[in-house]
């Protein structure tokens, strides 16, 4: 393992601690999907993206990211804080009254790092496409990233956007789907199966990659490969296989921890499994 990967994994451990503590602190929020995507967020913000924590909403001359499945806000907020967008002490205000860290991300309270509100599902890919087109109009060669959930693909708007991007050669866009196979009411295969997603996105005209989302080395490799495929006339899609709740044994692999907060005892059990690498908030 390279020193770089080890460093990223250390950050991801702290982000996971933050997630569990934040959700416990307000006794609400979505730990499962947040934990599963911690490695992806760290790979993006601490390795892949060229971005500026001195936040400018227009993001001209930098890579920008949109979170479409806004309910995994804990991992987004922790990553932004750890990357320097705002002080980590603010993580303690998550979902509490008068906080900039709303239940779902919003621009309304001007939290640095957030460029659009999300939470009502299915809208982020369209917004990311718009931002990609603005970058082209501005002759800005930086990239736009967007993350969606897999259950979210049941929203029709996603497929409107899926059709639009290849037709219009939106090739400065890297979309990722968090394939954890779970949604609120159970496994996606049982609630409303998504079928062969690789075949679906390829049929729509996307350049599709797959990755294990809880393997930092492979994530970095895939994100680097994805970047090399931009600018070639097709939007790029990463189908990212993750495990919901990854890093906390009793939360792993089940939809039960989609939107449930741990109690004091469960918090202690979880934190015992997650090393404090960068100092808690």
């Amino acid at each position: 393992m390279s020193a770089d990967i080890a460093k990223l994994e250390n950050i991801a451990k702290q982000v996971r601690r933050d997630i569990v503590r934040m959700v416990h602190g307000c006794q609400s929020g979505h730990p499962g999907g947040s934990l599963g995507c911690a490695d992806f967020f760290v790979a993006l913000y601490f390795h892949q993206m060229e971005h500026n924590p001195t936040f400018n909403l227009d993001g001209i001359g930098e890579d920008i990211f949109f979170l479409s499945n806004g309910h995994i806000s804990p991992v987004f907020y922790s990553t932004l804080a750890r990357a320097g967008y705002f002080d980590k002490s603010e993580l303690a205000t998550f979902r509490k009254i008068d906080s900039r860290l709303q239940g779902h991300p919003t621009t309304h309270e001007h939290l640095p790092g957030v460029r659009v509100a999300s939470g009502s599902l299915g809208q982020g890919l369209s917004v990311a496409i718009g931002a990609s087109r603005a970058k082209k109009l501005n002759a800005d060669d930086k990239l736009v990233y967007v993350l969606m959930g897999d259950g979210e693909l049941q929203e029709g708007q996603v497929w409107e956007a899926a059709m639009y991007a290849p037709h219009n050669k939106v090739d400065n866009l890297i979309a990722t789907i968090d394939l954890n196979g779970q949604q609120i009411d159970g496994p996606t295969e049982r609630v409303l199966s998504l079928g062969n997603l690789k075949a679906k996105w390829e049929a729509f005209g996307w350049d599709v990659l797959e990755a294990k989302g809880n393997d930092m080395a492979q994530l970095i490799e895939t994100l680097t490969e994805a970047k090399s495929r931009t600018g070639k006339g097709k939007p790029v899609m990463i189908l990212m296989h993750t495990e919901m709740g990854y890093g906390v044994d009793f939360m792993m692999g089940s939809h039960k921890w989609h939107g449930v907060a741990p109690n004091d005892e469960q918090l202690a059990t979880a934190l015992a499994q997650l090393e404090e690498t960068l100092g808690d908030y």
Binding site: L57, D58, G59, I60, I64, T106, T107, H108, R115, V116, A117, S118, G119, S120, G122, Q123, G124, L125, S126, V127, A128, I129, G130, A131, S132, R133, A134, K135, L137, N138, D140, G156, Q157, E160, A161, M163, Y164, N168
Partner: protein, 317 residues
């Protein structure tokens, strides 16, 4: 009664097309999006001169609203174009989250609003859009009355930073406002000063209100006529100043009586200066097929309806 005449008639959507083209020349950040209704929205001139700033979205209005939101990130000023029905009800949550709550500088431009869409019938005749849009925090709602005012509004909204709903229509109607007018968002236009009754009208009903004013004058009734082109933010000062003089109000709009201009005016009166009010609006129903003139008569949205509403409200003083 001040005399208003016209020499030409045009559709307000053509005013939008002309305004979009003009503002496109002035401001290189203006971009346009359309969901497969370029001809109906009169966007051809803009597309011809600025093809790189035009985005054909296809029949996918939800995606259009999202893309418009994204385009603002990087400084663009997107104008979306489709029918009023597909600009509002169909995409309400996209507008709510990705545009209004996110505070995005998107101009939602909506044609074929109301009954005057005509023969296509109720599926396309939205009469609830003003209500839907005015309820969104931070949304500005504008419903201009003729070609010139629509053109001026389409140009003016580019200089305002924030989400706007611009509503206009399909039929050819008289052009009676100044071609060189300065359009000021939120500022009422005093059409005619009078002392017996205040008629507050928006959109296609403004010309009808002028016709009604002439008929009322012949009956010895001196009507004050105010054009509210901006339903939100509402020019409360103009309304209160007028009602202090006349003591009663008729509101006139091509919209459901629930949730439209009439309700906005009513709130102002109740809070500040209670006075009798009559609504000229669609009485909580859907529309139907027919010519615009037939529909406006059947649903009570013409000069004759305004005249009888004025006579009725004066008696209630």
């Amino acid at each position: 009664m001040k005399k208003y005449t016209y020499t030409d008639k045009k559709d307000t959507r053509s005013g939008f097309g002309a305004g979009l083209h003009e503002v496109g020349k002035k401001n290189s950040n203006v971009v346009a999006l359309c969901a497969d209704l370029v001809g109906s929205l009169k966007m051809d001139a803009f597309i011809k001169d600025f093809p790189e700033r035009f985005f054909q979205i296809g029949i996918a209005e939800a995606n259009m609203m999202g893309i418009a939101s994204g385009l603002t990130i990087g400084g663009k000023i997107p104008y979306t174009g489709t029918f009023a029905n597909f600009s509002t009800g169909r995409v309400y949550d996209q507008i709510r989250q990705s545009i209004a709550y996110s505070g995005k500088n998107v101009k939602i431009c909506a044609s074929h609003a109301g009954l005057t869409l005509g023969e296509d019938g109720a599926t396309h005749q939205i009469l609830e859009d003003i209500g839907l849009m005015k309820m969104l925090p931070g949304m500005t709602v504008i419903n201009p009355c003729d070609y010139n005012q629509t053109k001026a509004a389409a140009i003016a909204i580019a200089d305002y930073d924030g989400p706007v709903y611009l509503r206009f229509g399909r039929p050819v109607v008289p052009i009676f406002t100044d071609p060189d007018q300065k359009f000021e968002i939120g500022k009422a236009w005093m059409v005619n000063e009078g002392s017996d009754v205040t008629i507050i009208a928006t959109g296609h009903l403004v010309w009808e209100a002028i016709q009604a004013g002439e008929q009322l004058a012949a009956l010895g009734i001196d009507a004050e006529i105010i054009n509210i082109h901006t339903i939100k933010p509402l020019d409360e000062e103009a309304i209160l100043k007028s009602v202090a003089k006349t003591g009663c109000v008729v509101t006139a709009e091509e919209h459901n009586r629930l949730g439209g201009l009439g309700d906005s005016v009513s709130q102002v009166l109740v809070k500040n200066h209670p006075a009798p009010q009559e609504y000229v609006a669609v009485n909580d129903s859907f529309g139907e097929s027919g010519t615009p003139a037939q529909l406006m008569e059947k649903y009570g949205l013409n000069a004759a309806s305004i005249v009888s509403a004025a006579q009725k409200v004066i008696k209630r003083k």
